[in-house]
Symmetry: C2
Subunit: 329 residues, 2 copies
Amino acid sequence: MTALYDVAAIGNAIVDVIAPTDDDFLAREHLNKGSMILIDQARAEALYSAMAAGVEMSGGSAGNTIAGLASFGGKGAFIGKVAADALGEIYTHDMRAQGAHFPAPPLTGGAATGRCLINVTPDGERTMATFLGAAGELGPDDVDDAVIEASKTIYLEGYLFDPPDARRAFAKAAGLAHGAGRLIALTLSDAFVVDRHRGALLGFVEDQVDILFANEGEICSLFQTDDFAVAAEALRGKVNIAALTRSAQGSVVLSADGDHIVAAEPAGKAVDTTGAGDQYAAGFLFGLARGRSLEVCARLGGLAAAEVIGHYGPRPEVSLRDLAVSRGL
Amino acid sequence: MTALYDVAAIGNAIVDVIAPTDDDFLAREHLNKGSMILIDQARAEALYSAMAAGVEMSGGSAGNTIAGLASFGGKGAFIGKVAADALGEIYTHDMRAQGAHFPAPPLTGGAATGRCLINVTPDGERTMATFLGAAGELGPDDVDDAVIEASKTIYLEGYLFDPPDARRAFAKAAGLAHGAGRLIALTLSDAFVVDRHRGALLGFVEDQVDILFANEGEICSLFQTDDFAVAAEALRGKVNIAALTRSAQGSVVLSADGDHIVAAEPAGKAVDTTGAGDQYAAGFLFGLARGRSLEVCARLGGLAAAEVIGHYGPRPEVSLRDLAVSRGL
């Protein structure tokens, strides 16, 4: 069957609330710089009260990746759960306005649309506290068989190892995808997520994952080592393709056909690193869907990541397609 | 009585939805570039569906001015009406996080929090379509006597000549203010607003206004002329201070003590002009509250306007106080 979509992603549908802060605030609020924690509604309200004035925009890791893919000119679908409320309407609008298919019906009579409170320090690092809300209700019924079977790659975010029903949604998606000859890609998302779910994640990686995305902290956490080279060797052979990102040191791609070390795209001052990993995955998966070499895939990923860290917010502000063309990619 | 607030503003409490667009879209949607129209809920939904993915942030002309005043280190209060919903919570949070007093209780059981759909063209010009929602319900009861009497200047936005009860709120505020020896400032807001309410606005200017803000199009519309010099002469003597902004040509301040022509602050590329007039008023009123000369007031206004057109969104992204200090103001 011809694929209708380059990528179908499954993830938390979350509206980001992004505000500037300083290191003292993170310490006072017991927030671990650069990481993501899950919070309940009461904590979300208290933390929000203490935050500076901010901006709101659609986010969520896998949703950001689909937005980036669309910006490259790719065709994406996103499976995620919002509520039937104002923020849910904004999220749905943004997904569809970016040309993505967004099939899951909104939750009614339950939790509100999820939000991620993102405090950005002057060094551009983002520290996230997520109230999942409706996103936490995502389950197997939201996984649309036809969408999965019609997508070249199914991309899953590791954050979804936290909410209870989402893992069953992952298992369903993986079964459908491999039955239809599609690929499964996973991002480990966050070192603390890996720490909470190491066994389950490792099992899923070994059994189901064709393409793995991880940053240095995440892959080291998966194999409980401080040494990136040790972690990379431990991963070798477990997946077909591993794209490991190393911030300013670029990325390392491991595959059966050889390894590639790709330098980071030159970038200006990091304003807000939110979405850097998501956009790397967008560029990489877009390249893969277009049959480009792994090295070009990694360069497309690096280009998209550099764009998004140059401004507030997790999604590209310019056409990534035009940007790639301007760099001869 | 010592003033508790430098400025109390009355205006539409509105959340901005800002998205990039092109001139063809404006033509297709019959939107008049650079202006503001009021739309009903059905039109708001249709227009929003057609817009690109955007970002949401607290806006509203007078609210932006109070945020700018706070960024200069001034003390402000804002009287505006939101609903008891998610966008209303965001609006309230942002006002209070910026250090402003925000006393009006949210509307319950009525319209949703108002929003302004802002389409920004590649030249940085913004074109606005406003669904007033709860903001349209602002009335005299929302005008807190103690706040008005405790503010050096009461700042009113001309946009409030549209909703029915707001003019009565203005009249009440003007009466209270002048009774307490306070000043009334007004911005004409928009040339089409002036066109719709010319007689009422002119009467209010002559009877109540001490300080008038207007751009070239607005003051020309008030006096039905195409010639800025003619409009400025027609205004002379009707208010104590008139601050007339002319985009790249800077601003002209008319007063009984003489006129001042102040060059525009050098600015980079205009990314989004939303809030430029609002921030000019913020700088000007802050200077006035601190007893600075009219020329310095105009320079502070120009500095704040230049900051806000350099990025998306109507409120400053950096401390205007630090910016002013760095320029020796």
